[in-house]
């Protein structure tokens, strides 16, 4: 004999399987399905009755929630309707006309051949760059090079300590007498390649770095070739096959670093078109 009723109202579901277990062992009530069906049929009326009779804060909350639900329902109904009816095609033909030999081919290989029609942003004033990350915290020289006092009376202040713990830098080939070369052997990691993303095509390539153009944190970093977030690098883009209007092949472009290389261990950059 089933003394428990089926749970189909506002109560949350039972937390254990005792109901299902009972159903498996003893089956359903004889009129269970009928009652369930009729109860569900009444639900709309009960709901509307409650909505009309509710007052106070409770009502406000309920109405707000219900309004949001109704909006969602209307959207899905509209979507389904659109699918069922066959709309007359728009007058406009789709963009991206391609010749017959390119018809069934994906645009994958297109990512490798970048479009030259992406307009170049003009440099407004001399020295002012429009870059994706314009604001990078600038570090003064005193921050970068911490003064270490030495001597018996701690008066001599000529020694400096670099406050970078772990940094990435680009050292050009054959630059062995630079002090950063020696320093980077201990503390730094030399990087030759960067993962560069093209902003419009959303395709990423691994391109060799040609040099560090500017590190906005400090001019000292620029001269040392240290790569941090916001650094503008010059990368070798010959594998992309870009050509200028005059027919010359482009092989170097600027890219700006978007991650913190000292945390991630790799250099991610976005190409500046």
């Amino acid at each position: 004999m089933n003394l428990l009723t089926s749970t189909s109202c506002d109560f949350s579901e039972p937390q254990n399987e005792h109901i299902e277990l009972h159903r498996k062992r003893h089956g359903y009530r004889l009129d269970h399905h009928e009652r369930k069906r009729k109860k569900e049929g009444r639900e709309a009326h009960e709901r509307s009755h409650k909505a009309r009779k509710m007052i106070g804060l409770k009502a406000k909350l309920y109405h707000k929630q219900r309004h949001a639900e109704k909006i969602q329902m209307k959207k899905t109904i509209k979507m389904h309707e659109q699918r069922k009816t066959k709309q007359k095609n728009d007058e406009k033909t789709p963009q991206g006309a391609v010749p017959a030999y390119l018809l069934d081919r994906e645009g994958q290989s297109r990512a490798k051949v970048l479009s030259n029609m992406i307009k170049q942003k003009r440099k407004e004033k001399a020295g002012k760059w429009e870059v994706p990350l314009p604001k990078v915290r600038a570090q003064g020289e005193t921050e970068v090079l911490k003064v270490i006092r030495t001597g018996k009376r701690q008066k001599k202040a000529w020694k400096r300590m670099i406050t970078l713990q772990f940094f990435h830098c680009f050292v050009p080939l054959g630059f062995s007498f630079h002090f950063l070369y020696c320093f980077s052997l201990y503390n730094g990691l030399r990087f030759k390649k960067a993962h560069v993303t093209h902003p419009e095509l959303k395709a990423t390539f691994c391109l060799p770095i040609l040099g560090v153009k500017k590190n906005p944190s400090s001019p000292l970093y620029t001269s040392l070739g240290v790569i941090t977030k916001g650094t503008v690098l010059e990368v070798n883009v010959s594998e992309l096959g870009l050509v200028t209007q005059g027919g010359k092949v482009i092989w170097g472009k600027y890219a700006q670093v978007t991650n913190n290389p000292e945390n991630d261990g790799c250099i991610n950059a976005v190409l500046l078109v």
């Binding site: 033909t93 006309a97 030999y101 069934d104 479009s115 030259n116 029609m117 096959g241 027919g247």
Partner: protein, 434 residues
């Protein structure tokens, strides 16, 4: 017979034409004879009114500096009679285009197909904005816009009498081929048989129709009743393009490029006269052998077929490292050019399919190529937005034509050799001249 008369060895040569027929009797010539002198001798034997420029080949190797050098490199025996094959070159010479004379705007979307009329008088271009535009070449301005298509105009083709233009748009991508009656304007026959979309259709000169499809086969149909004659199988991937050896002569019809003038003229004469002239030109170019067909595919290879004779290919041309986008026979049918997405163009012998040379220089996939009317120059358009003109004999770049802002989708060289038209993704059509 080696006779040491003077200080120079002599040997016997026998002139032979491409089909193998001998010309005259064996000749005694000194070893250091140059191609120019050979030309004089041969022309005298041919007894034509005007001397024709000729190229000489011994065993497929061209005689460039002197006969002796060629014989030495080949290591041939000088005691026997040496057969020397002569090939008449085009009498006229097309000059390489060097500058862009105009950039014709007007299309609202990318220009997808470009075609000169058979005499080179008119130019038509089809584009993604569903229109076909006609351009006036003397003033290089727009002439007329033809509307009516509902989707991108993928291909256009002129009739040989320059009276009609056929154009196809993207809407019908089923697997059947339809033959239309141009006078009545209705569909005559529907040829079904391919299981995937048809990529290329070519009318042959012998009453045959060739179609290639993405189902890796090429089907040969009889044009009269639409019955399928043969299926040519062998490719491992989509068959992208077809080329017939008699393509150029079928396209130009009764127009002879050698008689072109600076101002292109319409063809004069009644329909019968034009047909007669066209037939004469066709039989001259075709010669004794049946038509040859070349197919290029996504499986990086090309096949050379003789579809009227055999189901098996004559040769398989490998060497490309990416899919082959377009293949074209030269107008004199001796050479074959294949443009591929691996940024190179390969030149093959048109008769045997032997590889001759590669033309490298593009930095992006090569989309289309077009031969000049004298078969000496080749223009290619690529996705790196440049066109390049190549000298086929030396295999070197003749002219680099930058100027397009985006990929170049279609190129065409006018049959009178004066202009090259190119259209691309930047929606403008450029005309290049000398």
């Amino acid at each position: 017979m080696n006779s040491m008369s003077g200080d120079v060895e002599r040997l016997l040569i026998q002139f032979r034409d491409e089909a193998g027929q001998t010309l005259g009797s064996p000749f005694d010539v000194p070893l250091d004879i140059t191609p120019e002198k050979l030309q004089l001798v041969c022309n005298a034997l041919l007894q034509k009114d005007e001397p024709v420029p000729l190229a000489f080949f011994i065993n497929e190797a061209e005689v460039l500096s002197s006969l002796g050098a060629c014989v030495q490199t080949l290591g041939l025996d000088t005691e026997q009679v040496l057969p020397v094959v002569y090939q008449p070159q085009a009498v006229f010479r097309v000059r390489a285009v060097a500058r862009c004379t105009s950039s014709l705007q007007g299309h609202a979307e990318a220009v997808i197909s470009v075609a000169f009329s058979p005499t080179g008088k008119y130019l038509a271009s089809g584009s993604g904005d569903t229109t076909v535009r006609f351009w006036d070449l003397t003033t290089e301005t727009p002439h007329h816009t033809a509307r009516g298509h509902t989707h991108w105009v993928l291909s256009i083709a002129w009739s040989p009498d320059s009276r009609k233009l056929a154009s196809g748009c993207k809407n019908s991508q089923d697997c059947s081929v339809r033959i239309w009656d141009t006078v009545l304007g209705r569909c005559d026959k529907i040829l079904t048989g391919h299981t995937q979309s048809v990529t290329c259709v070519k009318w042959g000169g012998d009453g045959l129709l060739y179609t290639s499809s993405q189902d890796r086969t090429i089907k040969v149909w009889r044009a009269k009743d639409g019955v399928q004659c043969r299926t040519l199988q062998g490719h491992a991937h989509w068959v992208n393009t077809l080329a017939l050896s008699t393509d150029y002569v079928l396209r130009t019809g009764a127009f002879e490029p050698a008689t072109a003038t600076v101002n292109p003229q319409d063809l004069t004469g009644s329909l019968e006269e034009l047909k007669e002239k066209a037939l004469q030109r066709y039989t001259k170019v075709r010669g004794q052998e049946p038509e040859r067909l070349v197919s290029g595919s996504d499986d990086f290879t090309l096949f050379l077929w003789k579809p009227a004779e055999d189901k098996k290919p004559v040769a398989r041309l490998t060497g490309h490292q990416a899919l082959v986008n377009e293949v074209l026979f030269s107008p004199d049918t001796r050479l074959l050019a294949s443009a591929s997405f691996d940024k190179s163009i390969k030149i093959w012998d048109g008769r045997t399919g032997k590889y001759i040379t590669s033309l490298r220089g593009h930095v992006g996939s090569v989309y289309q190529v077009s031969w000049s009317a004298d078969s000496r120059l080749l223009v290619s358009g690529s996705s790196d937005s440049t066109l390049k003109v190549w000298d086929v004999k030396t295999g070197k770049l003749s002219a680099d034509l930058p100027g397009h802002a985006d990929e170049v989708f279609a190129v065409d060289w006018s049959p009178d050799g004066q202009r090259v038209a190119s259209g691309g993704k930047d929606k403008c059509l450029r005309i290049w001249r000398r």
